[in-house]
Amino acid sequence: MSAAAVFAPIQSRPPPMAVEGVWPWLRRNLFDGWRNTLATIVVLALLAYCLPPLFEWAVWNAVARPDNAACRAVGPIGACWGVVAEKYRLILFGRYPYSEQWRPLVACLLMIALIVASCYRPFWRRWLIGAWIAVLAAFFVLMYGDVFGLSVVETERWGGFPLTLMLSTLSIVMAFPLSILVALGRRSHMPFIRTICVVYVELIRGVPLISVLFMASFMFPLFMPHGMTIDVLIRILVGFTLFTAAYLAEVVRGGLQALPKGQIEAAQSLGLTYWQTTRKIVLPQALRLVVPAIMNTFIGAFKDTSLVTIVSMYDLTGALQLALGDSNWRKFFLEGQLFVAAVYFVCCFAMSRYSRWIERHLNVGTRRQ
């Protein structure tokens, strides 16, 4: 036998340099063959046709002052952002007493600060639960009053953004744990629990949200003992929570099913109990698998709160209708709608970006690097 050849690994080299610069990029991406070039030209032409008139309407010819006469004078060639300048407090705070509107403002800022803080993973500690209880209490004290010399503002006068924020936040916060229990229940070995969970999900998913809200608002009181009433806001909140939780439960169940069985067996073989396994092994993995779908449901729930207008509550969209009830400004509904849409968009876009960020953060180490 001859002497074995010595194995010498080839040194690793950097990949070939990508050609940098604007022109190479344009060539590669926009003018890559005649088809791509044609498509680029068509799109550019469309933009050239649409954008200038849009810019003229929205910016150049627009009236930003709350000047009704000027708005009417400019007619259809310019936007009347004056409707927003004139009515923004009514749109944002609904029928809440004008002089007291600092209260919902502070309440909303507190709530938003808390939500932002809750998004940050190092803050996921026990004290955060305390912070939630404190801020929710502060929110309701500020909104309702009756203590610290604050005048009473009945819930029926609450409206606009605070109502939207409160309904969506609370229903999501309550629906999330409920949905986890329901999802676990659907996989339970106990037929009774499984049946209850299946019936609940199918029943709620089978009816429109509007029906749930109607039932919560009008039918539920009929079943209550005489003389006993529960504030309509709470009933609506329960309706929202039950509705959101049913959808969310299916999302969570999807995550549970995607988890390899070996994970549970490994936890069991170490002697962990069902709840320890669920808390330490199953949920942390199952939930991070379905972060995009969970956020999808959250965004849906946030926007669905606009349906409370049908039970005579004035959330952001409802308050806009109140504002447009003024015959002087009714003409400019489009601008008002765009404003409200922008508020929704900012919130939803923030949620969507957060979803991507947290997904990346949660997946540290769980993918091969």
Partner: protein, 248 residues
């Protein structure tokens, strides 16, 4: 006489998966400190047999006693048995969302009620034992298959089990990594822990096992000492099996 009592005893154990009769009249007793290798064709019930010992599978007929406790539906008894039985899986089944160290401290902290400091100390001891302590802060998927399996062995050892079950621990490994895992298992075998190992690593069986069990169709076909098993198998079926797996 307590010392001589078997640590595991199967008596006429039967199990079905639906209609499929997977374990048939299993009688087996394992002495304390005994090292047993179980082999047999796929579907012969060997994995199911050892999975019954820590009740990842339930048997439907017969008696199964582990460390003096009969396995029934009593959850507390099952949890107690699982604490004294460690298991290593073919697919490692490490928890990918936890670091290596957290994988090891989980059970001591939550099942053994140890403080985090003590649990980490013990975890590092076990990681040193499987020669992988320097990887403690990494996540499982950042390790090679062989390293992952050694972590899995360390994890199972953290509750100081009396019995270790290995379910084809080297079947999912690249050939170059098999030996590093077998070395750890051989080392472990020398230390007197009761071991049941489903494997087709016949070299390991020959050098480590006190007894080799051959299963087919849910039955124990042959029990023998390794020397006898490989040179003079009692049953025709065993001979046939050995000729197939040792042909190359």
């Amino acid at each position: 006489m307590q010392a001589q009592a078997p640590i595991i005893e199967f008596a006429k154990v039967n199990k079905w998966f639906g209609e499929f009769h997977v374990l048939r009249d299993i009688d087996l007793s394992v002495a304390r400190g005994e090292r047993i290798v179980i082999c047999g064709p796929s579907g012969s019930g060997k994995s199911t047999l050892i999975r019954c010992i820590n009740r990842l599978e339930e048997h439907q007929e017969g008696r199964l006693v582990v460390d003096g406790v009969e396995l029934t539906d009593d959850l507390k008894a099952i949890e107690a048995i699982r604490r004294s039985v460690g298991m290593v899986f073919q697919q490692f089944n490490l928890f990918p969302h936890l670091t290596v160290l957290e994988n090891l401290t989980l059970a001591p902290m939550w099942v053994g009620r140890m403080s985090q400091k003590d649990a980490e100390e013990r975890a590092l001891q076990q990681l040193t034992r499987v020669q992988i302590a320097e990887q403690a802060k990494k996540y499982p998927l950042q390790l090679s298959g062989g390293q992952q399996q050694r972590v899995a062995i360390a994890r199972a050892l953290c509750l100081t089990p009396k019995i270790m079950l290995f379910d084809e621990p080297t079947s999912a490994l690249d050939p170059e990594m098999i030996n590093e895992v077998l070395d750890v298992m051989t080392e472990l075998a020398k230390q007197g822990i009761t071991m049941l190992c489903v494997t087709h690593e016949m070299g390991f069986a020959r050098s480590v096992a006190d007894r080799v069990i051959f299963m087919d169709h849910g039955q124990i076909v042959e029990e023998n000492s390794p020397a006898e098993f490989f040179s003079h198998p009692k049953s025709e079926r065993t001979r046939d099996f050995l000729s197939k797996i040792l042909a190359h």
